[in-house]
Symmetry: C2
């Protein structure tokens, strides 16, 4: 199944002519996972031709305006478009109150079920058959979560010749084995998937920091990520301001990527002062080579491992 | 003093790739008047290079999300930029509660005084030395205001030869007369501005409908407008839907412009279904010739009458 990550808003705090407010979309097959929802997100979704009727989960890192003010408008537009599919929101405590008071003030009625899961504790925020999403407390100026999207391992490569050798007839039973389930043959023998397949294949892992200073435990949380999306609000020369405001610099983001042995690093949530991001890229490259500075509508594909 | 009207958001309800949510800016000298504040307005202001520190009054027609969800982000960005100048908001009852509950949820602190004037009754909403802004109840699905920005008449054309004939010495006294004030000469005679000037020159009038169906009394309210900014959400073939949703069509907008003897009509708040607005223009033109269909960043200058 394909996974694409689309950067729909890459500025921090204040938008610019070229950058919208924070919003990063992960698209796995036809399911959407939105990390933060800055003002203007719905229009960015229209520009990127995402659609408003798909299965979707929204993850908010923290309740600062630049990360959440796109959500009420998104809900309203989805309702105007008569969405019927449930929308799930995973976010810090306070999100329910925020959405309720806006809905009450602006009197919009939802056409779809809205499930708000307020996250009280770090750990597994959301668990499905094929993936989990974990949350960890980051280090910002107010309670802020970082998220890891982790695919469960896929069954190993299927070897038809081994299945034949075990006497498994082609058809339904092969399909069960390919999906990781054991089968019982007509003579009572049980064949396990590992009997006819290679080792489990690891799933993909994408980590999103939200707003944060570097913090202890993050590299372990992000360990082995295929893609680490790390904020880098200020360049290294403004590291004192970064500490003051609870943000990171490119060097810090790159050090985390290196410690976590991430494959790819993307820097986002950039201060509006950087019209040319060459400096940010150069600072990160000194520490970690496989790094990109995000721009709006940048799209990355994460391939399956063999 | 120059007046420019800049259309910063011209869609209705749902934005499109080309059109932001409703927001129309009037710039008189260095003072700004914003009519409605849809999501994404702050970014449109950045694109149009408007600035966040100017004297500014915001007028909200009604508390639907598409007309107001840009305001919290605007306030937050102004604070991040350390605005000090007071911001005034004129809007229906409920606005204070909306802004307070968002501010409480998102914990932003303002760096400037915010004055919210909730409008209970039609009439003069705001009065300054050089202009008034009047509000009237429109006809939408919830309490909605239309606004008229009206410059007070300017003193008539000054005739130096008449001033000389009255024996008024050039300098300070001329200046007072030119500004519409009477002067007392050294011999005790009083000279009135009308003694040395032509008739008062009318100020400019700009009328903004917000969302509305046509309603009785509007043409009088908009009477003689230099510019009538009228919503035209649906084209004439969807007039039943327009009634149902409390909106207008191009023909209806044009009829109002004609009745009001407006000089210019601009149609805005267009449904996302119209990627080509030729139809809307043609429908309005049948009734009123001097009409334009707004697009984002369209800018009109309103010249002073002689």
């Amino acid at each position: 199944m394909s996974i694409r990550v689309i950067f729909l808003g890459t500025s921090g705090a204040i938008p610019t002519e070229k950058r919208g407010l924070p919003a990063t979309l992960l698209k796995r097959g036809t399911e959407l996972f939105l990390f933060d929802c800055g003002e203007g997100l719905q229009r960015q979704m229209i520009k990127a031709k995402i659609g408003f009727h798909k299965r979707m989960k929204v993850f908010l890192s923290h309740l600062h305006g630049d990360h959440v003010l796109g959500l009420p408008g998104l809900l309203q537009t989805m309702s105007l478009m008569d969405r019927k599919v449930k929308l799930e929101v995973y976010a810090p405590v306070g999100t329910k109150h925020f959405l309720e008071c806006v809905a009450e003030s602006l009197q919009y009625a939802l056409t779809f079920p809205l499930e708000i899961h307020e996250i009280q504790d770090a750990g597994v925020a959301c668990k499905e058959t094929e993936y989990v999403i974990k949350a960890v407390w980051a280090n910002h100026v107010l309670p802020t979560l970082a998220f890891a999207f982790i695919e469960k391992p896929r069954p190993g490569k299927f070897y038809p010749e081994k299945a034949r050798a075990f006497g498994v007839p082609e058809g339904v039973l092969w399909s069960k084995l390919q999906h990781g389930d054991p089968v019982t043959l007509s003579d009572g023998r049980i064949v396990a998937p590992e009997d006819v397949s290679g080792p489990l294949r690891r799933g993909r892992k994408i980590v999103y920091t939200g707003d944060t200073q570097p913090f202890k435990g993050f590299a372990r949380f992000a360990s082995g990520a295929d893609l680490l999306i790390h904020e880098a609000t200020f360049d290294d020369t403004l590291s004192e301001k970064a500490v003051e405001d609870g943000h990171s610099t490119p060097r810090q983001a790159a050090l985390e990527a290196k410690k976590a042995k991430a494959k790819t690093l993307v820097l986002t949530h950039l201060s509006a002062r950087y019209t040319d991001t060459g400096l940010l890229l150069a600072q990160a490259k000194k520490v970690f080579n496989n790094v990109t500075v995000a721009e709006d509508f940048l799209e990355l594909e994460l391939l399956l491992s063999e």
